[in-house]
Every structure is written in C-alpha cells, then in structure tokens.
C-alpha cells in the first residue's frame, strides 16, 4: 500500500463525536442545487454566476406587472434525470406559488412545487451500503440576493440594502431526504454522494462555494432507541461539507444540553456561524408565514410521457456507485482511492488504460498521486498505458514518470516524446552500480552506519544515500533500483 492511501484516509477521516451516552442523532437534509442550464427557469436570461449585478434580468425574472413565466424545458429534463438517478418515481407535476414577502423575491411569491412534485420516493446508497431515503426532489426558482449595507450587514440594522436579481429565477431542484441519517459521517457522505451524482449526470456543477449547491440540515436528538421524532431545528448557511459536520455536532450537543437540563429546543431556523463555530437563532418557525400555497395558474402541468422517462433512463450515464464497483473490480484498490478517482472522473481513464494490459496498481498510483489537476483532458488512455509500461520496464523512474504525466496533462501527446525531450534516458543498472560504489567510497562512515547500525540508523542512511544518488542523477534514478542495489551491497 502506498503512502497516499494513509494520507488521504487521515485527512478525510471524520472525527466522529460520540454523542453522550444514550442519545441518538436524527438528521434530514434539504439540498438546493442550481441546474446547469443556459437560461433561467422562466425566461431567456442567462443563468450565469458572477455577472455584474442586475444585468441578467428581464420583465419576467424581475416580476414586472404583466410579465408571464414560460417553463424551461431543459430544466425540467435535468430535474427528471436527477429524479431517475435517485431512483425516484417521476410523476405528473404542477407548479405552485409559495406566498410570502421578501425584497429579493420579485413577485413576492416563489414559484415552486407543493403537493405534486416532479420526483418522489427515491434513495441514495452510501459507500458503506447505508441507505438514505429521498422524500422528494422538486423544481423551483431561486431568489435574488440582498446585500445589507451598514449596521454590521444584518437586515434589521442596515442603513440600506441592495438587491441583485441576477439569481432570481435561476432553476433549482430541492432534494429532501427522509430523516434517516444517524451519524455526522453519513450526513457528510450523503452530501458528497449527491454531489457526485449531480456532476456525473450533468445536472449541476454542485459548487458549494459558489452557492450552486446549498445544504440545510434538520437536526434533532432522541434517547437512543426511542424511535420518537423530537423537535428539530433547521440549520442554514452551511457552506462546506466540513461545516455541515461541525454544525450538526454543535446543534446536537445544544439539544442534548437543553433536554438534559429539563428544557427543550423550540422549532426554528438557525444559522451556522462559521467563525463562531456555533448556530444562531434566526426567525422562529412558529411565527413563520402561512405560505398559502396554490397551483400556479400561469403555468401548465408537467406531464412526462412513458417514452420521455424511458429515454432518460436509456441515456443515463453510469452513476458513481456503479463506477466505483467497476473500478474496484478492475484494480482491487481500497475504497478511499476508488472514491477519489471516481469523484475526479478519472475512473474511465484508468479502466481504459488497464484494458491495454498494464499494471493496474501503477495506473492507480500515477493517477491518484500525480494527476490531481483541474484539467487532465489531454491525457489519453493509450498515452497513460504507454507511460505505465515505460515505468514498469524501468525506462522511467517514478519521479520521471510523474514529470512526464505532468507534460501529458499540459500538452497531450506521447510519453516517449516527452521523456526524450526532457532527456530522460533509462539509466542502466551498471551505471547506477558504478555511482553507488563511488558514493560508498566517498562516505565510509555513513556506509558503516548503514550496514552495522540499528534499524533507525539503517533507515536514515538509506535516505542519505538515495538522496545523494538522486542529486547526482538529477532525480532520474529509479528509487526502487537504488534500494535494491544498496540492499544487495550491504548483504554481500
């Protein structure tokens, strides 16, 4: 097993807070994702992040009097693709109005779905086989964005507020899980798995940092094994998977403290304060508005035919779970490694390279260690296979292979050509032996510590000699070959 496995596992292994004895966590997740469409949900304005404020707007997404919505067919299609990817039933659905006043909502109602959502009853199977039920995944429009100026940036203290309506009317799907999650680890795994499904299906770029994926967590606790559902709080403003874990942990502990002191949490929306590491009370849900939902009369029902659903199913790309199985079968790599490559989308490249008959371990090692770059589209499977073949044959050292792979990612082409251009030539064993002999002669003290010292000395000195050799060869020597020669000379 190579180093990266341990390293990756350590960095990613969540520190699971043990809830105090006797308490169980209950979490439901509501995830909003922006659909990856060219235009907004009800008008022709660009669905684009980062434009100048109020430049992607028109009468419809500004909710001007007399304007009307026209449903974006691609958004509906993407929502249904996601529904099928989550194993949902795709139903005839209708849009509804959710009525409440808010300045960043141009019509003072949100067009969403209520009692007849597009997708119902699905599930996400996590890497360890744990199943989280999906209650629904419905289509709705996004709101604009308010910026509060002065008074610490809070709406009630602000001197004035500015509203950017570029985001108003951007198509969203809200994925509502059942309250099945019992651990922080599963909550995080759920969001990560959903994110991979969204990317794999092209439904959304699912970037939490840009807000194209937003996670709210409904958190409650209960005495272990009681089966009851106690008062929950909805945590908003969570902007990373890591924050999700922290927020749930804090909130669960807050609930437990309240219950154990004879008090009780009250149902409310709370906001995660990243710097403070705590949740803060928002608007209480008890006095929340009555949203007065009713069917949106300006839009017609969405009625997918059986043919539409069948076509979506037929065109469904392999989902991350299936891809992980395929890669595991082909490489035998551990779950973290497989998960990482699938998340990067490099599993297809790996499988294609392995299909050319090269060492699966080496393929995996090269990709995981040396291809952690945004754009690796120029690396073809034949080139990768050729690279691994050269490495296996000893034509390239590991260090050289890494550099050549970098060249492939940057420029594409053939690994032999890049190796030649860099002046990488296979250093034959004779040459290497001569060099080792010279270094032994130059450093007799170190050599005796290597041959006669304790394990610590031996290790240190192996590092010393390897370093010297690498320096002398400008990194072109094959580390494994060096170790072999050193070992042979010490014992011989």
């Amino acid at each position: 097993m190579t180093d990266f496995h341990a390293a990756a596992a350590t960095a990613d292994t969540p520190i699971e807070p043990a809830l105090p004895e006797g308490w169980e966590l209950v979490v439901g997740l509501e995830v909003h994702v922006e659909l990856d469409t060219a235009t907004k949900l009800f008008c022709g304005c660009a669905n684009q992040f980062g434009s100048e404020p109020n430049t992607n707007v028109c009468p419809t997404c500004l909710g001007l009097p007399g304007s009307l919505p026209v449903m974006n067919g691609r958004a509906v299609e993407l929502a249904m693709i996601l529904g099928r990817a989550l194993g949902c039933t795709v139903n005839r659905s209708v849009m509804a109005r959710k009525n409440y006043f808010y300045p960043d909502m141009p019509k003072d109602f949100q067009t969403t779905q209520y009692d007849q959502p597009t997708n119902v009853d699905g599930r996400i199977v996590l890497g360890d086989g744990f199943v989280v039920g999906i209650e629904r995944a419905h289509i709705e429009e996004d709101t604009g964005k308010s910026t509060h100026i002065g008074g610490g940036g809070r709406i009630n203290d602000a001197l004035y507020s500015l509203v950017d309506y570029n985001r108003a009317g951007v198509p969203l799907v809200e994925i509502v899980s059942r309250p099945d999650v019992r651990t922080i680890e599963h909550a995080k795994a759920y969001v990560e798995e959903l994110r991979e499904i969204l990317i794999a299906t092209g439904v959304s770029d699912a970037r939490m940092e840009e807000g194209s994926m937003r996670v709210d967590a409904n958190v409650s606790v209960r005495p272990f094994g009681s089966g009851e559902l106690r008062t929950r709080c909805e945590i908003k403003n969570i902007n990373s998977v890591r924050s999700l874990g922290r927020a749930i942990e804090f909130e669960a502990q807050r609930h437990i403290d309240l219950w154990t002191s004879g008090d009780a949490p009250h149902q409310e929306t709370r906001h995660w304060d990243e710097e403070g590491g705590r949740t803060r009370s928002g608007r209480s849900k008890e006095d929340a508005d009555d949203y007065r939902y009713f069917q949106e009369p300006d839009l017609v029902p969405l009625e997918p035919t059986d043919e539409t659903i069948a076509a979506i199913d037929a065109a469904m790309p392999p989902l991350p779970s299936v891809r992980r199985t395929a890669l595991t079968d082909a490489t035998g790599a551990d779950p973290d490694t497989v998960g990482l490559l699938v998340a990067r989308g490099q599993d297809g490249l790996a499988l294609d390279a392995i299909a050319e008959g090269v060492d699966p371990d080496k393929v995996v090692t090269r990709l995981v260690n040396d291809l952690a770059v945004d754009d690796w589209s120029r690396v073809t499977a034949p080139a990768l296979a050729a690279l691994v073949r050269m490495e296996s044959a000893g034509d390239l050292s590991a260090t050289q292979a890494k550099q050549v792979l970098g060249d492939l990612a940057e420029k594409g082409g053939d690994p032999a050509a890049h190796a030649a251009e860099r002046g990488f030539e296979a250093m034959d064993t004779d040459e290497l032996e001569t060099l080792v002999d010279r270094l032994i002669a130059e450093h007799p003290d170190e050599w005796s510590r290597f041959t006669a010292g304790d394990d610590g000395d031996r290790k240190k000195m192996q590092g010393f000699f390897t370093g010297q050799i690498m320096k002398a060869t400008q990194g072109q020597a094959d580390g494994k070959a060096v170790a072999q020669i050193l070992g042979r000379k010490a014992s011989g």
């Binding site: 007399g66 304007s67 009307l68 449903m71 003072d108 109602f109 009713f294 009369p297 839009l299």
Partner: protein, 480 residues
C-alpha cells in the same frame, strides 16, 4: 364610420390615418372631460403611428387590416415607455419597459393607439367607480355608470372616441360594460388571446377581448389579436381565429339553449330585471325566426358561479398583487423596516375594493380555511365545467342576459359590495369554464337604456359567438 370602413378607406388612400386620428382626438377633447374614459390620451405617439401608416400607404405597402383605426387600450395593458396604471395609485408613474403582445399585434395590424382607458382599480369592480383617478361616466347617460371594470374602454367606443377598444374580462369586465354602453363586447376562449403584458388580476380567469360598435368590427379585431403566443404558457397552441369568416353563416338549424337558471326561468338566480328578461326572450324568438331550434336547458351549478368566483379571483389576486411592495417600482412610502415600508406603501397605494379582495383571497387560501373556501370553489369550478360540457351535448350555443339590469346610477351601489358583485352573475360562468361569450345590444330597458344579450359557446368555438351575435344584431336593427 366603422373600423372596417376606416381601414378600407385608409388602405385605399381615400382617407389618411392622420385625418381619421384628428377627427377622433377632436371628439375626445370635446367630451372626455365629462366622460373621463381616458387616464391618458397619447396624442403624440398616436400621431407618429398614424403618420407611419400613411407613409406605408404612400409607399405602396399594406399597413394591415386595422390601418389607421383609432383604438383605446384599457390601462392594465403594458405599453413601452407609456404610463400604465391599472387606475391605481400604487402604479402611478410606472412606465413599462415592454409592450403587451396584444399591443404589438394591434400596432402591426395598423391600429393607432389613442390612449389608455380608465378601469376599476386592477380591474376589480363592475362600474369603473373604483378607479383611483375618479369614475368614468356612461356616454348614453352621464348620470349612469358605464359598467366595469373596462368602463373606460366601453365608454370610449360608445362616445365615438375610438371605433375599437381593448378590454379585459375576468368575471364580465368586457361584456357587462358593453351591455351598459350599448355596444358589442366579446370574451374569447381562455388562451385564445395572449395575456403577456396584461397586468394580472386573476390569472386563470383573465382574458383580453374586443369592444366595437358592431359585431363585424369586433370580429375584425378578434382575428387580429387572437392566436398563439409563446410568451404565454396558457396560450392555445394552434388557435386559428375565424371570426370574420363566421359572420354570415346564420343560425339556420343551430340548436340554441336558454339557460333556465340565468334567464329568469325556474330556479333562476334572483335580481334579473323583468325588462332585461323580456328582451332576452325576444332575442331568442328572433333566433327562432332565423331558423334556430330553441330549447330550455338547465345548468344547475351556474347559480354557484358567483360564490366560486369571489373565492377564486380574490385568491389569485392576493398573490398577483403581492409584488406591489414598494421595493422595485411604483409608490413607496418610507418606513423604518422593510416590512413596515411594504405595509405603508400598500396601505397608501391600494383602494378599498382592492384591499377587500386581497383580504378575501388571503383568507380563502389560509391554512385551516383552504379546503372550506378555495378548495371548495375549485370543486364548483370543476362541476361547472362538467355541467356545461353536458349541456353542449344537447345544444350548440346558450343565451342569457349579459347583466341583470341596465346601467345603474353612479354611487348607487358603491357602499354595498354584494349588490355590485351580483352584476356579474350571468357573465362569471364563462370565465370559470374558460368558454367564449359575446354581448350584443338588443333593445332597451324601461329606462330607455340599452340591454345586452349574451351568447355563450363551447371552448374554441369563438366563431359561433360572432355568428349568432351577427344574427341578433341584425334582428335588433343594429349596424349590419
């Protein structure tokens, strides 16, 4: 001079559009101070349009079927750069950045928009007395109301300010004022005319339609404004208007039903004036004389229409009118917090009837009341659809009075909302079902004021309403 005659004269070069416009602007100057049909007369824009029409004729081009015809537009339809108020203080000064689809279609057909007409605020009313800018008077008797909510449009045609006008009809807002003003008014099948740019009152009921002095002119305009619009999702995909082609088909062999519950028959709604019932009966006889077969039919749920309407329409309105919050356009009354600013702006900007309906609708949709009110109203609506579908198995068209009475005096019903609402009892069913209906003048009441008779037809059979309307008009001694 009819719209058809004006267009023919302008197209052939016998008259200029500018000349026609000047004649109508002169009439407006002479009498609109008294009538108050217009919120705004757009003389400059109209002149530019008329000149463009004349230039087209001079260049040998055809400016279209409504070439040079002056047209009055209800002030709830968006006109680019021209104030559009819905006769509400809350929209005072707002200039839409776009034109309604219907405005584009009319301009493309050569019509010349002379101004924006008065209405009950946000089209909520039956007398045009609910306007924030003062009432419109009936040109036939200025002590009487012109009906509503499209009272300004109806009055502008009746007063000769424009041969054509555009109205919107949510519960009778075209047909009832047409009846009161002695002209023709037609509500198309829901989805026949694009609502894009019509400021919504109740989206599932609103429909734009024509006012004209005769059925042929109404048909001419209908054929221009009807048709699919991709900007309105409820627009019918392949609607081909054929009103003008239907005019001369007569009623020989046509099966005409008289709706007992809406015509003073057994189990009828109350409040139908005897003279109105009598004129409706004479209209039916006229159709029989022209070869139609007559039968009395029953649509029991039609009597529930009024109650259902006054839940559905306010419910949708409470949501449609939420956007007037002082944040983006129109009236803003400043206050310490956003919520207080919303409330202050809406309190100052909306009139009493609008507030009443927003409250009604908010209540009808509220948790705990939805099923008893809005939910039940939807069921009645479904029931009416079924009942009307069943009756159209037996007959081709239906006849009812348009309004229970002739035009009533200004101020008579302003303090009694229920007395005002009852005006719509015969017109509301077509809005709830989405079916077309036309009101045609047929004689006068005991007070000498015009009576309107209504022809109802199944969805998409808009042509039938014109076809039967033309026969009624001829029998009444109308323009044709």
């Amino acid at each position: 001079m009819s719209a058809g005659a004006i267009a023919a004269a302008v197209r052939s070069g016998q008259r200029t559009a500018v000349d026609v416009l000047d004649e109508h602007l002169a009439r407006i100057s002479a009498r609109d101070e008294e009538i108050h049909a217009f919120n705004l007369v757009t003389a400059d824009e109209a002149r530019a349009q008329a000149e463009a029409v004349d230039a087209a004729v001079a260049a040998g081009d055809d400016p279209g079927p409504l070439a040079g015809v002056p047209l009055a537009l209800k002030d709830n339809m968006c006109t680019r750069g021209i104030p559009t108020t819905c006769s509400s203080k809350i929209l005072e000064g707002w200039r839409p950045p776009y034109d309604a689809t219907v405005v584009n279609r009319l301009r493309d057909a050569g019509a010349v928009v002379v101004g924006k007409t008065n209405l009950d605020e946000f089209a909520m009313g039956s007398s045009t007395e609910n306007s924030a800018f003062g009432p419109t008077r009936n040109p036939l008797d200025p002590t009487r109301v012109p009906g509503g909510s499209s009272g300004g449009s109806a009055a502008s045609v009746a007063a000769g300010f424009a041969p054509l006008a555009i109205g919107s009809d949510t519960g009778g807002s075209i047909r009832q004022p047409a009846a009161f003003c002695g002209i023709v008014g037609m509500k198309p099948t829901y989805g026949a005319v694009s609502r894009y740019g019509l400021i919504a009152f109740a989206s599932s009921l609103d429909q734009i339609g024509p006012f004209a002095t005769d059925v042929a002119d109404a048909a001419l305009m209908f054929d221009v404004i009807a048709g699919h619009d991709p900007l309105d999702s409820t627009s019918i995909a392949d609607f081909a208007p054929q009103a003008t082609a239907s005019l001369d088909r007569g009623v020989d062999g046509l099966r005409v039903g008289v709706v007992r519950e809406l015509s003073g028959g057994e189990g009828s709604v109350e409040g139908l004036s005897p003279d109105v019932v009598a004129r409706t009966g004479e209209a039916v006889e006229a159709l029989a004389a022209a070869g139609a077969t007559i039968s009395e039919v029953s649509v029991p749920s039609s009597t529930l229409g009024l109650s259902a309407y006054y839940l559905v329409a306010p419910a949708e309105a409470s949501s449609n009118l939420a956007r007037y919050d002082g944040v983006r356009y129109g009236l803003r009354v400043d206050a310490p917090t956003t919520g207080e600013m919303n409330t202050a702006s809406r309190t100052a900007g909306f009139g009493a009837e609008v507030k009443r309906r927003i409250m009604l609708g908010t209540y009808a949709l509220s948790a705990g009341y939805y099923d008893a009110f809005y939910g039940k109203a939807l069921k009645v609506r479904t029931m009416m659809m079924r009942d009307f579908a069943a009756v159209y198995e037996q007959v081709d068209v239906l006849i009812t009075p348009t309004a229970p009475t002739t035009a009533f005096p200004l101020g008579e019903r302003t303090t009694d909302p229920m007395a005002m609402y009852v005006n719509d009892v015969c017109t509301i069913p077509s809005n709830l079902t989405g079916h077309p209906a036309i009101s045609v003048p047929f004689g006068t009441g005991d007070d000498g004021l015009p009576v309107g008779v209504q022809v109802l037809a199944p969805a998409l059979d808009d042509g039938l309403t014109f076809q039967v309307g033309a026969v009624l008009e001829a029998a009444a001694g109308g323009a044709r």
